[in-house]
């Protein structure tokens, strides 16, 4: 890992603090990042998708994937009961096999944080909350900060914020940068610790891969602990090429600054086969350092059941069916 540090893009003695000195310097930096060739990126992602994961590797990957899930409910119709039962599932995903690992986090709206926190008390499962006027992000900064502070005060361990895509697409990078900084500050707790900040780009709305790379660096310089593809609320969510690109960005960022940032693809990852493809991408792009729930997450709600069914298949030799996993 150290081999890259001296030569990575933007490496200037490890410090990128000057980059955001002005709108002009920030733009110059972001537009100076290496470009992305669409055809090449997509073909590399497709090639990685053809890796064949079987037997022991598959068993390991399934458990790893389960332990990386941010089990999510983000519906207008969410209730206390729904959130509680989701938490129960997160703690013990397979009632018929208690060796199944727990998930990484339960992801809810800010008003459900207290409920989730209560239901998960005493466990290591984190509570993640989508704040900052999720999913559109269309609110004034004071509202977003209040949203964040409320979730943190209610006990959220992790905050998933959305960036202002309007500002980003019109080139107002410094505005996006400062907003991330402000939300990061709002993640601080009175005891000096802070909630983990995941920054959501809504890559489906950023349109180009160059934009995704710029957004990744922008968020990382601003202090993101995680970068996340999407809200799961638009037509195009996480895709393998976009995720691959973000993995390359965190790799280069660590080489340049020594700071490791996590990655979370979210939305549309529903099957074990899909999850395997993402794990292969992490494995072959970043290696062991990122193959842990601490550095890689799946934002998903229906993925867990497919992983559990595949897990049952591996242990029993037979396919069960949807009635052999719980519906929450």
């Amino acid at each position: 890992m150290s081999t890259l540090a001296a030569n990575a893009p933007g490496a200037a003695g490890g410090g990128l603090s000057d980059v955001a000195a002005s709108e002009a310097t920030l733009r110059r930096f972001l537009h100076g990042l290496p470009g992305v060739d669409q055809v090449g990126l997509e073909s590399r992602a497709a090639t990685l998708g053809t890796r064949s994961i079987k037997t022991t590797a598959k068993a390991l990957a399934i458990d790893l994937a389960i332990s990386m899930i941010d089990l999510t409910t983000l519906e207008g119709a969410d209730t206390v009961g729904k959130v509680r039962s989701l938490c129960a599932k997160g703690l013990g995903p397979d009632p018929s096999d208690r060796t199944a690992p727990r998930v990484a986090a339960i992801c809810v709206y800010p008003d459900m944080v207290a409920t989730a926190k209560e239901a998960l008390r005493g466990s290591a499962v984190q509570v993640a909350s989508v704040a900052t006027a999720f999913p559109s992000g269309r609110a004034g900064l004071p509202v977003k900060l209040a949203d964040t502070a409320e979730a943190v005060a209610a006990g959220a361990d992790e905050i998933d914020m959305v960036i202002d895509r309007g500002a980003f697409l019109s080139g107002r990078y410094l505005e996006v940068f400062e907003e991330i900084r402000a939300v990061k500050a709002a993640c601080a707790r009175p005891d000096g610790t802070a909630a983990h900040l995941k920054v959501i780009f809504e890559t489906g709305e950023l349109q180009t891969y160059d934009n995704v790379r710029r957004a990744s660096w922008l968020a990382m310089i601003a202090g993101a602990d995680f970068i996340k593809t999407s809200t799961g609320k638009v037509a195009v969510n996480a895709t393998p090429p976009v995720t691959l690109l973000m993995l390359e960005a965190v790799r280069d960022f660590r080489a340049a600054t020594g700071t490791q940032v996590g990655v979370k693809p979210a939305g549309g990852i529903r099957t074990t086969k899909d999850a395997m493809k993402y794990l292969v991408m992490v494995n072959e792009t970043l290696g062991d350092d990122w193959l842990s729930p601490h550095w890689f997450r799946f934002g998903a709600s229906s993925l867990l059941n497919d992983l559990l069914m595949q897990r049952q298949k591996l242990s029993t030799g037979r396919y069960s069916g949807p009635d052999y996993v719980t519906v929450d």
Partner: protein
């Protein structure tokens, strides 16, 4: 078994760490039955050789003998050419749309039997199943489909009002893409109304013989396609045969030169597809992550057994360190081993002779002062293997910068300006392909106009398509295969329709 000397020092096994993939081998049984010995395919039948000499084809991944096959004699060649001549009158008289039906049928059967052919090709050649399955076989079918489409449109191909077939085409193909090179040659020859005698390489005859079965299955009229196996002696007898009208050869430059000499003064038409030493040129504004993939594809695809391989990396000095770090990191993830494992990236070297040549050139590289680097990875004990290898500090004067290695060995050179890049890229006796990596479109066009190479890829490498002509400048040969241009070497385009 242990025919090869160990080429590298023993290094510890690179396990995939936390997430080592379990082996995912394709079943060798999927290749179908491999006979213990094969004869030639002449006049629609498998026939014994008139001679008694037999050659062996081995699985380069294990060194085990797969089958014996016949060393074609002059008499065998003559019999095959006579069969092709006898079939020519009827075949060339068929309406193009009728010939197309056979070609379409062959293409469909290739698709239906693609798993069998892919596995057989991997076993015989040593290349990974991922490539035979995802690249070779889809392209083989695509070439037959593509040229089937031309068969009834030759009058409109731009070669005059009434282009006519030449007659009997003698085709000699190499071992690096045995079935794909067959498709590149057989499809346009049959589409234009010629009949064929083809000689596959002596290390990889099995898929060509299986293809003969496919032609029978497709009901191709007897004698239209004939296959004679053997080594260079058989090839020489075939190209020298007086009743051959057209010779098409893909292989090494020295052999190509010998054929050109042999045919000089005869009325035979000749096309040659020879060696290469392509420059893969990376500018400092290139999409670096994709450039790294392109470099890897360029030189490690098919173990580097590719005439258009990007074997000379020309990198702009300002990004040299960054690019080389990224490239080495990427090379560390390449999986070398069992070609039938679906997760294998780099398979076996095709033959002991080829391994010896690669080893010799790599040693010359070290001796001449270039710095050698290869990732740690365990190589299987039996069979022929070579680690993916990188040479830095290479100068234009080094042998590894000038000679075709035809193996997984990349030479890295640097440049400072576009003009210097062009000068160095062109400073080679070859001229088959080149690659340009830059985000600047105008520079791509400026470079492409100046590079003396038949194929210039921009922000990609080693991409093939039946619609795109392929061929070389200088010692890389002449004539084009693929596309509309690929029809011309099989047509008499001077004929006037009176």
């Amino acid at each position: 078994m242990a025919k090869t000397k160990k080429t590298e020092t023993e290094q510890p096994l690179r396990k995939g760490g936390l997430f080592a993939y379990a082996p995912a081998p394709e079943s060798p049984a999927a290749a179908g039955e491999i006979a213990t010995s094969y004869g030639h395919f002449v006049g629609g039948e498998f026939v014994d050789s008139s001679g008694s000499e037999a050659l062996k084809t081995v699985n380069p991944a294990t060194g085990q003998v797969l089958a014996e096959f016949a060393q074609g004699t002059e008499e065998d060649v003559d019999r095959a050419v006579k069969a092709a001549r006898a079939a020519f009158a009827d075949w060339s008289a068929l309406p193009g749309s009728e010939r197309a039906k056979y070609l379409f049928r062959i293409a469909r059967i290739v698709q239906e039997r693609s798993r069998e052919l892919a596995v057989l090709e991997s076993i015989d050649n040593g290349k990974p199943i991922r490539e035979t399955r995802d690249v070779d076989l889809p392209l083989v079918a695509a070439h037959f489909f593509y040229y089937a489409g031309w068969a009834d449109k030759l009058d409109f191909a731009g070669f005059g009002p009434n282009p006519r077939p030449l007659g009997v085409a003698a085709q000699v193909i190499p071992w690096n893409f045995p079935l794909l090179m067959l498709a590149w040659k057989v499809a346009p020859a049959l589409a234009t109304g010629n009949t064929v005698v083809l000689k596959p390489a002596e290390t990889t005859p099995l898929t060509a013989l299986r293809f003969a079965e496919i032609c029978r299955q497709a009901g191709l009229p007897t004698g239209v396609l004939n296959i004679v196996t053997g080594d260079g002696r058989t090839g020489a007898a075939l190209t020298a045969h007086p009743d051959v009208n057209k010779v098409a050869f893909t292989g090494s430059t020295p052999v190509g030169r010998a054929i050109a000499r042999q045919l000089a003064g005869s009325r035979k038409k000749l096309s040659l597809e020879l060696g290469g030493k392509a420059a893969n040129i990376v500018f400092d504004d290139a999409p670096l992550d994709q450039a790294v993939e392109g470099i890897v594809d360029g030189i490690f695809f098919n173990q580097g057994h590719v005439c258009c391989a990007g074997s000379r990396l020309l990198v702009q000095e300002s990004v040299q360190d960054e690019l080389l770090d990224a490239l080495k990191r990427r090379m560390g993830t390449l999986r070398v081993g069992d070609p039938l494992d679906k997760n294998t990236d780099i398979g076996a070297i095709n033959s002991a002779a080829q391994l010896a040549r690669i080893t010799e050139l790599a040693e010359a590289g070290e001796r001449e002062g270039a710095e050698r680097w290869a990732p740690e990875c365990e190589l299987p004990g039996a069979g022929y293997w070579f680690r993916p290898t990188l040479f830095t500090g290479v100068s234009q004067a080094h042998r590894i910068a000038r000679e075709e290695v035809f193996g997984p060995v990349l030479s890295v050179l640097t440049f400072r300006t576009p003009a210097e890049a062009v000068e160095k890229a062109n400073n080679t006796p070859y001229g088959l392909s080149a690659g340009i990596w830059t985000e600047k479109g105008s520079r791509i066009l400026w470079m492409a106009n100046r590079l003396r190479a038949g194929v210039v890829w921009a922000n990609t490498f080693n991409k093939f398509d039946p619609t795109s002509p392929f061929g070389g400048y200088k010692e890389s040969g002449y004539g084009r295969e693929g596309g509309r241009h690929g029809l011309e070497p099989y047509l008499n385009v001077e004929a006037l329709d009176v």
